[in-house]
Symmetry: C2
Subunit: 190 residues, 2 copies
DNA sequence: GATATTATCTAGCGTTGCTAGATAAATAAT
DNA sequence: ATTATTTATCTAGCAACGCTAGATAATATC
Protein backbone atom coordinates (compact mmCIF):
# COMPACT_ATOMS: atom_id res chain seq x y z
CA UNK A 1 0.00 0.00 0.00
CA UNK A 2 3.02 2.23 0.33
CA UNK A 3 2.97 3.32 -3.27
CA UNK A 4 -0.63 4.45 -2.97
CA UNK A 5 0.23 6.30 0.20
CA UNK A 6 3.11 8.09 -1.47
CA UNK A 7 0.82 9.03 -4.32
CA UNK A 8 -1.66 10.41 -1.87
CA UNK A 9 1.04 12.45 -0.19
CA UNK A 10 2.31 13.76 -3.52
CA UNK A 11 -1.20 14.78 -4.46
CA UNK A 12 -1.78 16.53 -1.18
CA UNK A 13 1.53 18.28 -1.49
CA UNK A 14 0.69 19.44 -4.99
CA UNK A 15 -2.66 20.73 -3.82
CA UNK A 16 -0.93 22.68 -1.08
CA UNK A 17 1.45 24.16 -3.64
CA UNK A 18 -1.53 25.39 -5.64
CA UNK A 19 -3.03 27.10 -2.61
CA UNK A 20 0.31 28.57 -1.61
CA UNK A 21 0.94 29.91 -5.10
CA UNK A 22 -2.52 31.47 -5.23
CA UNK A 23 -1.88 33.14 -1.91
CA UNK A 24 1.49 34.53 -2.87
CA UNK A 25 0.30 35.89 -6.21
CA UNK A 26 -2.80 37.43 -4.62
CA UNK A 27 -0.70 39.11 -1.96
CA UNK A 28 1.74 40.52 -4.47
CA UNK A 29 -0.48 41.40 -7.42
CA UNK A 30 -4.08 41.10 -6.31
CA UNK A 31 -6.67 38.39 -6.92
CA UNK A 32 -7.15 39.34 -10.55
CA UNK A 33 -3.64 38.10 -11.22
CA UNK A 34 -4.53 34.68 -9.83
CA UNK A 35 -5.50 32.87 -13.02
CA UNK A 36 -5.62 29.15 -13.67
CA UNK A 37 -2.95 29.43 -16.33
CA UNK A 38 -0.68 31.33 -13.99
CA UNK A 39 -1.13 28.77 -11.22
CA UNK A 40 -0.55 25.91 -13.65
CA UNK A 41 2.67 27.58 -14.72
CA UNK A 42 3.70 28.03 -11.13
CA UNK A 43 3.26 24.38 -10.15
CA UNK A 44 4.60 23.21 -13.51
CA UNK A 45 1.56 21.17 -14.52
CA UNK A 46 -1.03 21.73 -17.20
CA UNK A 47 -4.23 23.59 -16.43
CA UNK A 48 -6.62 20.62 -16.27
CA UNK A 49 -4.62 19.22 -13.35
CA UNK A 50 -5.92 22.07 -11.21
CA UNK A 51 -9.44 20.89 -11.87
CA UNK A 52 -8.61 17.46 -10.50
CA UNK A 53 -7.96 19.25 -7.19
CA UNK A 54 -10.57 22.01 -7.20
CA UNK A 55 -13.96 22.29 -8.83
CA UNK A 56 -13.27 25.80 -10.09
CA UNK A 57 -11.34 28.97 -9.43
CA UNK A 58 -13.64 29.99 -6.58
CA UNK A 59 -12.78 26.80 -4.74
CA UNK A 60 -9.10 27.76 -4.83
CA UNK A 61 -9.90 31.19 -3.40
CA UNK A 62 -11.99 29.46 -0.73
CA UNK A 63 -9.07 27.18 0.17
CA UNK A 64 -6.89 30.24 0.70
CA UNK A 65 -9.66 31.80 2.77
CA UNK A 66 -9.79 28.75 5.02
CA UNK A 67 -6.05 29.04 5.61
CA UNK A 68 -6.66 32.67 6.40
CA UNK A 69 -9.31 31.87 8.98
CA UNK A 70 -6.95 29.50 10.75
CA UNK A 71 -4.24 32.13 11.08
CA UNK A 72 -6.80 34.80 11.84
CA UNK A 73 -8.33 33.06 14.83
CA UNK A 74 -4.86 32.16 16.04
CA UNK A 75 -3.86 35.83 15.89
CA UNK A 76 -6.97 36.91 17.80
CA UNK A 77 -6.58 34.20 20.43
CA UNK A 78 -2.93 35.15 20.92
CA UNK A 79 -3.81 38.79 21.33
CA UNK A 80 -6.39 37.92 23.95
CA UNK A 81 -3.98 35.64 25.80
CA UNK A 82 -1.18 38.19 25.94
CA UNK A 83 -3.44 40.89 27.33
CA UNK A 84 -4.16 40.77 31.03
CA UNK A 85 -7.24 42.62 32.09
CA UNK A 86 -10.56 42.14 30.34
CA UNK A 87 -10.84 45.61 28.85
CA UNK A 88 -7.27 45.38 27.68
CA UNK A 89 -8.05 42.05 26.02
CA UNK A 90 -10.95 43.59 24.17
CA UNK A 91 -8.75 46.35 22.84
CA UNK A 92 -5.89 43.99 22.05
CA UNK A 93 -8.19 41.76 20.01
CA UNK A 94 -9.71 44.71 18.18
CA UNK A 95 -6.25 45.98 17.30
CA UNK A 96 -5.10 42.53 16.26
CA UNK A 97 -8.14 42.23 14.02
CA UNK A 98 -7.37 45.46 12.21
CA UNK A 99 -3.67 44.73 12.00
CA UNK A 100 -4.40 41.37 10.43
CA UNK A 101 -6.78 42.89 7.92
CA UNK A 102 -4.24 45.52 6.97
CA UNK A 103 -1.13 43.34 6.76
CA UNK A 104 -2.88 40.41 5.06
CA UNK A 105 -5.10 42.44 2.78
CA UNK A 106 -5.49 39.84 0.04
CA UNK A 107 -6.11 37.08 2.54
CA UNK A 108 -8.73 39.18 4.31
CA UNK A 109 -10.33 39.93 0.97
CA UNK A 110 -10.66 36.21 0.23
CA UNK A 111 -12.13 35.64 3.67
CA UNK A 112 -14.67 38.43 3.76
CA UNK A 113 -15.08 40.33 0.53
CA UNK A 114 -14.84 38.05 -2.47
CA UNK A 115 -17.93 36.04 -3.33
CA UNK A 116 -17.76 32.70 -1.62
CA UNK A 117 -19.97 29.86 -0.56
CA UNK A 118 -18.48 29.71 2.93
CA UNK A 119 -21.19 30.42 5.45
CA UNK A 120 -21.45 31.56 9.03
CA UNK A 121 -24.03 30.81 11.65
CA UNK A 122 -25.32 27.80 9.78
CA UNK A 123 -25.16 24.09 10.39
CA UNK A 124 -22.62 23.64 7.60
CA UNK A 125 -20.32 26.36 8.87
CA UNK A 126 -16.68 25.40 8.60
CA UNK A 127 -14.90 24.88 11.92
CA UNK A 128 -12.29 27.47 10.90
CA UNK A 129 -15.03 30.09 10.67
CA UNK A 130 -16.49 29.06 13.99
CA UNK A 131 -13.12 29.36 15.69
CA UNK A 132 -12.70 32.94 14.53
CA UNK A 133 -16.14 33.86 15.82
CA UNK A 134 -15.40 32.11 19.12
CA UNK A 135 -12.18 34.07 19.55
CA UNK A 136 -14.15 37.31 19.30
CA UNK A 137 -16.93 36.05 21.53
CA UNK A 138 -14.44 35.11 24.22
CA UNK A 139 -13.28 38.67 24.83
CA UNK A 140 -16.76 40.12 24.51
CA UNK A 141 -18.44 37.69 26.89
CA UNK A 142 -17.41 39.32 30.17
CA UNK A 143 -19.30 42.48 29.28
CA UNK A 144 -22.70 41.32 28.21
CA UNK A 145 -25.60 38.95 28.58
CA UNK A 146 -26.40 38.33 24.94
CA UNK A 147 -22.94 37.30 23.81
CA UNK A 148 -23.89 36.41 20.26
CA UNK A 149 -25.57 39.75 19.69
CA UNK A 150 -22.69 41.81 20.99
CA UNK A 151 -20.12 39.68 19.22
CA UNK A 152 -21.91 40.16 15.92
CA UNK A 153 -21.92 43.89 16.50
CA UNK A 154 -18.28 43.97 17.59
CA UNK A 155 -17.34 41.97 14.52
CA UNK A 156 -19.38 44.15 12.18
CA UNK A 157 -17.79 47.32 13.51
CA UNK A 158 -14.31 45.89 13.07
CA UNK A 159 -15.13 44.65 9.60
CA UNK A 160 -16.47 48.07 8.72
CA UNK A 161 -13.33 49.73 10.03
CA UNK A 162 -11.16 47.37 8.02
CA UNK A 163 -13.12 47.75 4.82
CA UNK A 164 -13.67 51.48 4.87
CA UNK A 165 -10.04 52.05 5.74
CA UNK A 166 -8.87 49.71 2.99
CA UNK A 167 -10.94 51.60 0.43
CA UNK A 168 -9.63 54.93 1.70
CA UNK A 169 -12.94 56.14 3.04
CA UNK A 170 -12.07 56.78 6.66
CA UNK A 171 -8.94 58.31 8.10
CA UNK A 172 -6.13 55.85 8.83
CA UNK A 173 -4.81 58.26 11.44
CA UNK A 174 -7.94 57.95 13.58
CA UNK A 175 -7.70 54.17 13.81
CA UNK A 176 -6.76 54.01 17.48
CA UNK A 177 -9.40 56.54 18.41
CA UNK A 178 -12.07 54.48 16.70
CA UNK A 179 -10.93 51.33 18.45
CA UNK A 180 -11.01 53.15 21.78
CA UNK A 181 -14.52 54.35 21.06
CA UNK A 182 -15.69 50.86 20.17
CA UNK A 183 -14.01 49.20 23.14
CA UNK A 184 -15.45 51.83 25.45
CA UNK A 185 -18.95 51.26 24.10
CA UNK A 186 -18.76 47.48 24.47
CA UNK A 187 -17.24 47.51 27.94
CA UNK A 188 -20.12 49.69 29.10
CA UNK A 189 -22.86 47.44 27.76
CA UNK A 190 -25.27 46.38 30.46
CA UNK B 1 -25.39 76.42 -32.28
CA UNK B 2 -28.64 74.57 -31.89
CA UNK B 3 -27.46 71.53 -33.80
CA UNK B 4 -24.41 71.20 -31.61
CA UNK B 5 -26.62 71.55 -28.56
CA UNK B 6 -28.95 68.85 -29.75
CA UNK B 7 -25.97 66.59 -30.36
CA UNK B 8 -24.75 67.26 -26.87
CA UNK B 9 -28.14 66.37 -25.45
CA UNK B 10 -28.30 63.21 -27.52
CA UNK B 11 -24.90 62.22 -26.29
CA UNK B 12 -25.79 62.89 -22.68
CA UNK B 13 -28.98 60.94 -23.08
CA UNK B 14 -27.13 58.00 -24.56
CA UNK B 15 -24.65 58.08 -21.71
CA UNK B 16 -27.50 58.00 -19.26
CA UNK B 17 -29.00 55.01 -21.06
CA UNK B 18 -25.72 53.16 -20.63
CA UNK B 19 -25.67 53.83 -16.91
CA UNK B 20 -29.32 52.91 -16.56
CA UNK B 21 -28.85 49.67 -18.46
CA UNK B 22 -25.84 48.75 -16.33
CA UNK B 23 -27.84 49.39 -13.21
CA UNK B 24 -30.83 47.32 -14.30
CA UNK B 25 -28.72 44.36 -15.41
CA UNK B 26 -26.65 44.47 -12.22
CA UNK B 27 -29.79 44.54 -10.09
CA UNK B 28 -31.35 41.63 -11.93
CA UNK B 29 -28.37 39.39 -12.68
CA UNK B 30 -25.41 40.72 -10.73
CA UNK B 31 -22.40 42.75 -11.83
CA UNK B 32 -20.79 39.85 -13.67
CA UNK B 33 -23.62 40.03 -16.19
CA UNK B 34 -22.81 43.66 -16.93
CA UNK B 35 -20.51 43.23 -19.91
CA UNK B 36 -19.61 45.79 -22.55
CA UNK B 37 -21.19 43.66 -25.27
CA UNK B 38 -24.39 43.33 -23.30
CA UNK B 39 -24.60 47.07 -22.70
CA UNK B 40 -23.85 47.79 -26.36
CA UNK B 41 -26.68 45.45 -27.30
CA UNK B 42 -28.97 47.18 -24.86
CA UNK B 43 -28.38 50.69 -26.19
CA UNK B 44 -28.25 49.42 -29.79
CA UNK B 45 -24.79 50.74 -30.59
CA UNK B 46 -21.51 48.95 -31.19
CA UNK B 47 -19.10 48.33 -28.35
CA UNK B 48 -16.53 51.02 -29.14
CA UNK B 49 -19.21 53.67 -28.65
CA UNK B 50 -19.19 52.88 -24.94
CA UNK B 51 -15.53 53.80 -24.82
CA UNK B 52 -16.30 57.23 -26.21
CA UNK B 53 -18.33 57.78 -23.04
CA UNK B 54 -16.33 55.90 -20.43
CA UNK B 55 -12.65 55.05 -20.16
CA UNK B 56 -13.36 51.47 -19.19
CA UNK B 57 -15.84 49.16 -17.53
CA UNK B 58 -14.88 50.36 -14.05
CA UNK B 59 -15.88 53.89 -14.99
CA UNK B 60 -19.38 52.66 -15.82
CA UNK B 61 -19.64 50.94 -12.46
CA UNK B 62 -18.44 54.15 -10.84
CA UNK B 63 -21.12 56.15 -12.65
CA UNK B 64 -23.76 53.81 -11.25
CA UNK B 65 -22.18 54.18 -7.81
CA UNK B 66 -22.45 57.96 -8.02
CA UNK B 67 -26.15 57.65 -8.81
CA UNK B 68 -26.38 55.34 -5.83
CA UNK B 69 -24.76 57.86 -3.52
CA UNK B 70 -27.25 60.50 -4.57
CA UNK B 71 -30.23 58.30 -3.75
CA UNK B 72 -28.51 56.99 -0.66
CA UNK B 73 -27.96 60.37 0.95
CA UNK B 74 -31.49 61.38 0.00
CA UNK B 75 -32.84 58.28 1.75
CA UNK B 76 -30.81 58.98 4.88
CA UNK B 77 -31.78 62.64 4.96
CA UNK B 78 -35.43 61.74 4.54
CA UNK B 79 -35.26 59.24 7.37
CA UNK B 80 -33.73 61.85 9.63
CA UNK B 81 -36.33 64.45 8.68
CA UNK B 82 -39.29 62.17 9.28
CA UNK B 83 -38.08 61.20 12.75
CA UNK B 84 -38.74 63.63 15.54
CA UNK B 85 -36.55 63.19 18.55
CA UNK B 86 -32.78 62.93 18.23
CA UNK B 87 -32.44 59.35 19.39
CA UNK B 88 -35.29 58.36 17.10
CA UNK B 89 -33.51 60.06 14.20
CA UNK B 90 -30.37 58.10 14.90
CA UNK B 91 -32.27 54.85 14.82
CA UNK B 92 -34.30 55.85 11.78
CA UNK B 93 -31.16 56.65 9.83
CA UNK B 94 -29.48 53.41 10.88
CA UNK B 95 -32.52 51.44 9.76
CA UNK B 96 -32.75 53.39 6.52
CA UNK B 97 -29.08 52.63 5.86
CA UNK B 98 -29.56 48.90 6.25
CA UNK B 99 -32.80 48.89 4.30
CA UNK B 100 -31.11 50.67 1.44
CA UNK B 101 -28.20 48.24 1.44
CA UNK B 102 -30.57 45.29 1.42
CA UNK B 103 -33.06 46.50 -1.15
CA UNK B 104 -30.46 47.99 -3.50
CA UNK B 105 -27.86 45.27 -3.08
CA UNK B 106 -26.16 45.70 -6.46
CA UNK B 107 -26.11 49.47 -6.12
CA UNK B 108 -24.63 49.21 -2.63
CA UNK B 109 -22.04 46.78 -3.95
CA UNK B 110 -20.96 49.29 -6.60
CA UNK B 111 -20.77 52.01 -3.96
CA UNK B 112 -18.84 50.18 -1.28
CA UNK B 113 -17.55 46.77 -2.29
CA UNK B 114 -16.39 46.70 -5.87
CA UNK B 115 -12.95 48.14 -6.56
CA UNK B 116 -13.27 51.81 -7.41
CA UNK B 117 -11.23 54.95 -7.54
CA UNK B 118 -13.85 57.01 -5.74
CA UNK B 119 -12.36 58.36 -2.55
CA UNK B 120 -13.56 59.71 0.76
CA UNK B 121 -12.01 62.20 3.09
CA UNK B 122 -9.74 63.58 0.41
CA UNK B 123 -9.62 66.82 -1.46
CA UNK B 124 -10.89 65.15 -4.62
CA UNK B 125 -13.83 63.51 -2.92
CA UNK B 126 -16.98 63.63 -5.01
CA UNK B 127 -19.73 65.82 -3.62
CA UNK B 128 -22.11 62.85 -3.74
CA UNK B 129 -19.87 61.00 -1.31
CA UNK B 130 -19.58 64.02 0.96
CA UNK B 131 -23.35 64.39 1.09
CA UNK B 132 -23.80 60.84 2.28
CA UNK B 133 -21.24 61.32 5.01
CA UNK B 134 -22.89 64.59 6.01
CA UNK B 135 -26.27 62.91 6.32
CA UNK B 136 -24.81 60.48 8.81
CA UNK B 137 -22.89 63.18 10.65
CA UNK B 138 -26.05 65.23 11.08
CA UNK B 139 -27.80 62.66 13.24
CA UNK B 140 -24.67 61.75 15.15
CA UNK B 141 -23.67 65.33 15.98
CA UNK B 142 -26.03 65.92 18.92
CA UNK B 143 -24.37 63.14 20.88
CA UNK B 144 -20.70 63.83 20.65
CA UNK B 145 -17.86 66.30 20.56
CA UNK B 146 -15.70 64.66 17.90
CA UNK B 147 -18.34 64.34 15.21
CA UNK B 148 -16.06 63.01 12.52
CA UNK B 149 -14.74 60.24 14.74
CA UNK B 150 -18.14 59.05 15.86
CA UNK B 151 -19.58 59.32 12.37
CA UNK B 152 -16.80 57.16 10.98
CA UNK B 153 -17.49 54.60 13.65
CA UNK B 154 -21.25 54.73 13.14
CA UNK B 155 -20.73 54.30 9.40
CA UNK B 156 -18.30 51.43 9.83
CA UNK B 157 -20.65 49.55 12.10
CA UNK B 158 -23.53 49.96 9.65
CA UNK B 159 -21.34 48.94 6.75
CA UNK B 160 -20.23 45.88 8.68
CA UNK B 161 -23.82 44.97 9.48
CA UNK B 162 -24.79 45.33 5.84
CA UNK B 163 -21.87 43.35 4.50
CA UNK B 164 -21.85 40.53 6.99
CA UNK B 165 -25.57 40.13 6.62
CA UNK B 166 -25.34 40.14 2.85
CA UNK B 167 -22.75 37.39 2.93
CA UNK B 168 -24.84 35.37 5.36
CA UNK B 169 -22.43 35.67 8.24
CA UNK B 170 -24.63 37.24 10.89
CA UNK B 171 -28.26 36.49 11.69
CA UNK B 172 -30.79 38.51 9.70
CA UNK B 173 -33.28 38.04 12.53
CA UNK B 174 -31.14 39.98 14.98
CA UNK B 175 -30.95 43.04 12.78
CA UNK B 176 -33.14 45.28 14.94
CA UNK B 177 -31.37 44.19 18.10
CA UNK B 178 -28.01 45.12 16.60
CA UNK B 179 -29.31 48.52 15.52
CA UNK B 180 -30.68 49.12 19.01
CA UNK B 181 -27.34 48.20 20.52
CA UNK B 182 -25.49 50.56 18.19
CA UNK B 183 -27.90 53.44 18.68
CA UNK B 184 -27.76 52.96 22.43
CA UNK B 185 -23.97 53.05 22.40
CA UNK B 186 -23.79 56.21 20.32
CA UNK B 187 -26.44 58.09 22.22
CA UNK B 188 -24.51 57.47 25.41
CA UNK B 189 -21.21 58.75 24.10
CA UNK B 190 -19.78 61.56 26.22
C1' DG C 1 2.27 -10.00 -22.30
C1' DA C 2 -2.46 -8.22 -22.90
C1' DT C 3 -5.94 -5.38 -20.66
C1' DA C 4 -7.91 -2.01 -17.86
C1' DT C 5 -7.23 2.08 -15.19
C1' DT C 6 -5.31 6.26 -13.79
C1' DA C 7 -2.61 10.55 -14.62
C1' DT C 8 -1.66 14.01 -17.58
C1' DC C 9 -1.49 16.84 -21.78
C1' DT C 10 -2.74 19.21 -26.15
C1' DA C 11 -5.94 21.73 -28.26
C1' DG C 12 -9.85 24.39 -28.35
C1' DC C 13 -14.62 26.46 -27.13
C1' DG C 14 -17.01 30.38 -25.81
C1' DT C 15 -16.54 34.71 -23.44
C1' DT C 16 -14.25 38.73 -21.64
C1' DG C 17 -12.27 43.90 -21.89
C1' DC C 18 -10.50 46.64 -25.10
C1' DT C 19 -8.62 48.68 -29.68
C1' DA C 20 -6.79 49.37 -34.51
C1' DG C 21 -8.19 50.48 -38.86
C1' DA C 22 -11.88 51.07 -42.16
C1' DT C 23 -16.13 53.40 -43.44
C1' DA C 24 -19.87 56.49 -43.46
C1' DA C 25 -21.84 61.05 -42.16
C1' DA C 26 -21.62 65.79 -41.10
C1' DT C 27 -19.04 70.16 -41.30
C1' DA C 28 -15.76 73.59 -43.22
C1' DA C 29 -13.11 75.58 -46.88
C1' DT C 30 -12.48 76.89 -51.46
C1' DA D 1 -21.08 73.24 -55.68
C1' DT D 2 -17.29 70.61 -55.03
C1' DT D 3 -13.54 69.26 -52.34
C1' DA D 4 -11.16 68.55 -48.03
C1' DT D 5 -11.50 67.72 -43.14
C1' DT D 6 -13.20 66.42 -39.13
C1' DT D 7 -16.42 63.63 -36.37
C1' DA D 8 -19.22 59.49 -35.50
C1' DT D 9 -19.60 54.88 -35.89
C1' DC D 10 -18.72 50.04 -37.18
C1' DT D 11 -16.36 45.63 -38.38
C1' DA D 12 -13.03 42.69 -37.10
C1' DG D 13 -9.77 41.03 -34.16
C1' DC D 14 -6.16 40.62 -30.20
C1' DA D 15 -4.83 38.65 -26.00
C1' DA D 16 -6.45 36.66 -21.95
C1' DC D 17 -9.93 34.36 -19.24
C1' DG D 18 -12.40 29.87 -17.05
C1' DC D 19 -13.17 25.57 -18.26
C1' DT D 20 -13.46 20.90 -20.86
C1' DA D 21 -13.41 17.13 -24.50
C1' DG D 22 -10.62 13.85 -26.37
C1' DA D 23 -6.05 11.98 -27.09
C1' DT D 24 -1.86 10.05 -25.10
C1' DA D 25 1.26 8.30 -21.86
C1' DA D 26 2.16 5.90 -17.53
C1' DT D 27 0.80 2.59 -14.20
C1' DA D 28 -1.57 -1.26 -12.19
C1' DT D 29 -4.19 -5.74 -12.86
C1' DC D 30 -4.94 -10.03 -14.65
Amino acid sequence: MSIAERKGRDRAEREQRIVAAARVIAAREGWDAVTIRRLADEIEYSQPVLYSHFANRAAIVAAVAIEGFREFSAALTDAAACAGEQTIALEAVASAYLTFARSHAALYEAMFVLPTDLRFAKSDTQPELRAAFAALAAVVAPFCADVELVTETFWAALHGFAELERSGRIRPGARDARVALLVGAISQTA
